[in-house]
Symmetry: C2
Subunit: 148 residues, 2 copies
DNA sequence: TTAAGTGCAAATATTTTGCTGTCAC
DNA sequence: GTGACAGCAAAATATTTGCACTTAA
């Protein structure tokens, strides 16, 4: 079940308001797009969808808003093994980190949650003396339907 | 000990020759740069270093060669959390996958090998039915010197 | 009111491609 | 000799920035 939504819609707005960050028509549209997305979107796709809500939105506003959300840890940035160009993909940061699996043949993206991943992060924090802010595990391979 | 070199220099050449891929002056220079690199290099840095060995080398030759090496699984492509621009970084693929830790404050890159990472990959292969070709775990955080 | 945010246009950065000539095998 | 590869220039793609105008708080 990818993108299992266990969060309250509008959470971003509340979070940003709390930090005294201004809410604009444009940001509302962009947040809406990201919060309701059923798949990973790149900046161009976010722009196109946000424009359906507010046609005046500019590309640079999308990038500036993505930067804002990234800085506040509300979204994660993914590459998805660059299956399709060099763009980045964005998703709401959920409570639990998950692994992204990209099938190199069919392009399907699968998400996977694992306790082992959590243990690995703990090990890194302990043994490397790191405080982890963001952990991104992306795997390229062949899914059960595509592997030979 | 990052980049512990357990491989024979010139391995790339042998590997490519075996597959009937032509060896040119330019490729030799690029391979040399990558094989002897002590840190992660992006395409521009590889170009600059390769030009010291063969000044005529073009940027596109570097990209085409990187593509070739990637397709043959000789190098890995990294983002290193995009600490510095959007370029990709390259490194020789070693026998053992390792995790890349990027300090968000000082920019230092640390490498870490973990059995837990290997177990996690096995779990993914088993439970997701994937055959993994490449696994990239990149962590952004604060190293022991930088964390508050 | 006013600092933060926006659109617009132009710049930057990175990577890819078409074409023609060259070279490894 | 010939097909793979190279350089060159131009395009494509992705993202950032300067600036003047607008707007949320």
């Amino acid at each position: 079940m990818p993108f299992a939504n266990t969060e309250i819609p509008g959470k971003f707005q509340a979070f940003l308001a709390q930090r005294g960050i201004r809410m604009t028509e444009q940001r509302r549209a962009i947040l809406n797009v990201i919060e309701t997305a059923k798949k990973h979107l790149d900046a161009g796709q976010i722009l196109r969808r946000a424009r359906k809500l507010d046609p005046s939105i500019d590309r640079s506003t999308v990038y500036r808003t993505l930067g804002l959300l990234k800085r506040h840890g509300l979204i994660d940035e993914l590459d998805l093994m660059h299956l399709d160009g060099e763009a980045h993909y964005y998703e709401r940061k959920l409570n639990r980190d998950h692994i992204h699996l990209a099938c190199l043949r069919c392009g399907r993206i699968t998400e996977f949650v694992s306790d082992l991943f959590e243990s690995l992060k703990e090990q890194v924090e302990k043994e490397c003396g790191y405080r982890i802010a963001v952990a991104r595990l992306e795997i390229g391979g062949y899914c059960s339907k595509c592997r030979t």
